[in-house]
């Protein structure tokens, strides 16, 4: 049943966002595609029996390694970047400006190559590579979080809640946090496709990320070996971007 403007006005923002997301065709297709990639792992044992070539089964299995690594790196990067951006907004003034100038300066660099640089400077091993994938996401997350945190402080309802005598924590819990979660989700979601991209590039170049799609693409010498991981990587990136568009539509945020 179609919702009227009155229905929308009386519902919570989160219910409206969920409704908009569920009615975003691209986001639903992306979600279905992503689920298919994730659940495709269940097809591996029968596939190995049916198809002589192992590349499809191997690529499906590598999907789990790629996505698990990317999700962990994105969460870590978003957390560190979030703290950085939030601290800059909290301090404000010269300290806040210096923190954000550093984030902007780092974000201007080709950070997708950071895992390669870390492998060269760190002397190999998985630790520098893994840490570099995470760190490559931090400046972008810091910039995104800072913008939202600064914007949240300017809302009139925050001033009204303070004027009503609510404590700092209560204002934050009851007013600021619920209103910034949506925009934060929109701004930080791109960290996930970016993590997939940075990991895949580093693995493709053979400096880490063994057993992921990037490593399989880098090692492929024939089209038959290249296509399964390449198509799965492209489908996953397309799905993640489509879900991102759905989240933007859900919270009615326009892209620049």
């Amino acid at each position: 049943m179609e919702r009227t403007r009155f229905d929308m006005a009386t519902e919570s923002p989160w219910r409206i966002a969920r409704h908009r997301f569920a009615h975003h065709r691209g986001a639903m297709q992306g979600l279905a595609l992503l689920m298919a990639v994730v659940l495709g792992d269940a097809l591996v044992p029968p596939l190995r029996g049916i198809v002589g070539d192992e590349s499809v089964a191997d690529a499906l299995q590598a999907g789990h390694a790629t996505l698990a690594f990317a999700v962990a790196a994105a969460l870590g990067g978003v957390l560190l970047g979030g703290v950085w951006g939030w601290l800059a907004a909290l301090f404000g003034g010269p300290i806040g400006r210096a923190l954000m100038r550093a984030a902007a300066g780092l974000a201007a660099l080709p950070l997708a190559l950071l895992p390669v640089v870390a492998a060269g400077l760190g002397g190999g091993g998985p630790l520098p590579f893994d840490a570099a994938v995470l760190l490559a996401l931090v400046p972008g997350a810091a910039l995104a979080t800072h913008g939202i945190a600064v914007e949240a402080g300017r809302h009139g309802f925050v001033a009204a809640a303070q004027a009503a005598g609510l404590g700092r924590y209560e204002v934050w819990r009851r007013h600021t946090l619920p209103n910034v979660l949506g925009p934060l989700l929109v701004a930080l979601w791109p960290a996930l496709p970016r993590a997939v991209l940075v990991l895949s590039l580093g693995a493709f170049l053979g400096v880490g990320g063994a057993g992921t799609w990037g490593a399989q693409i880098g090692a492929a010498k024939t089209l038959a070996a290249l296509l399964p991981p390449a198509l799965l990587l492209a489908a996953t990136l397309a799905a993640l971007h489509a879900i991102g568009h759905g989240i933007e539509a859900a919270f009615a945020v326009e892209r620049p």
Binding site: P110, V117, G120, V207, A234, L237, H241, P256
Partner: protein
């Protein structure tokens, strides 16, 4: 405008010099490695410049003119990163022609340029100054060329830095794949061999190239949209 351009390039050059000095003196044998890495810069510049020029030239009109076609190009651009396109081209065609590497790297640039161009036209439409110009009797063609086009292209110029960063990163993979003697392939070889001096030198030069292209994009944006000079 001139002082704005000089300020942007001076800031970028200062950052480049700091990066190069850190690579030269912060690592043993850094100066020699820097000389070797600099020898590959023309190859990298040709590859990255060619891919950016091709992608922007094809992608911007696509985004400005065609709605669904621009959206389709943007989806392909987001789903197929440059290194993946380069790997597909190299394995499918079985050749290592450098022009094909530039063509492959142009795919994501084209997609992103189409997306930004499309969003730029939509943003200009919402602001209404083209409509105001039409209301003053300015012909459609002149209103488009003088008002809509510069304002719609300004965000694209502003995105040159991020497009350059992505293309340089994928370009390193393409150089290694196609066997091109560029700074990117030197970075990959040095990283695989654990050569700290080579890695630092190549990374500093690639980062410097991106910073200069970013400054160029900011200056172009300032020329197209005077409001950008105030930021």
């Amino acid at each position: 405008m001139l002082s704005f351009a000089l300020r942007r390039f001076a800031a970028a050059l200062t950052a480049v010099l700091l990066l190069v000095a850190a690579a030269a003196f912060g690592v043993p044998e850094g100066t020699a490695a820097l000389g070797r890495a600099a020898a590959g810069l023309p190859v990298t510049l040709a590859l990255v410049g060619g891919a950016l020029a091709l992608g922007l030239t094809l992608g911007a009109p696509l985004g400005l003119a065609a709605g669904w076609l621009g959206e389709g190009a943007a989806t392909v651009g987001a789903a197929v990163p440059g290194f993946l396109a380069a790997a597909l081209v190299a394995v499918a065609l079985g050749t290592r022609v450098p022009a094909l590497a530039a063509l492959a790297l142009a795919v994501p640039v084209l997609g992103e340029a189409a997306r930004i161009g499309r969003a730029g036209v939509a943003a200009v439409d919402r602001q209404g100054f083209t409509l105001a110009a039409r209301g003053r009797g300015v012909p459609v063609r002149e209103a488009f060329l003088r008002h809509t086009l510069p304002a719609a292209l300004a965000p694209l110029a502003g995105a040159l830095g991020s497009l350059a960063a992505a293309t340089v990163a994928s370009g390193a993979a393409a150089e290694a794949l196609f066997g091109l003697p560029g700074t990117g392939s030197m970075l990959v070889q040095a990283a695989r061999a654990g050569d700290a001096a080579g890695t630092a030198a190549a990374a500093a030069l690639l980062a410097g190239l991106v910073l200069l292209l970013r400054a160029l994009g900011a200056v172009l944006r300032g020329g197209l949209d005077p409001r950008a000079r105030l930021e």
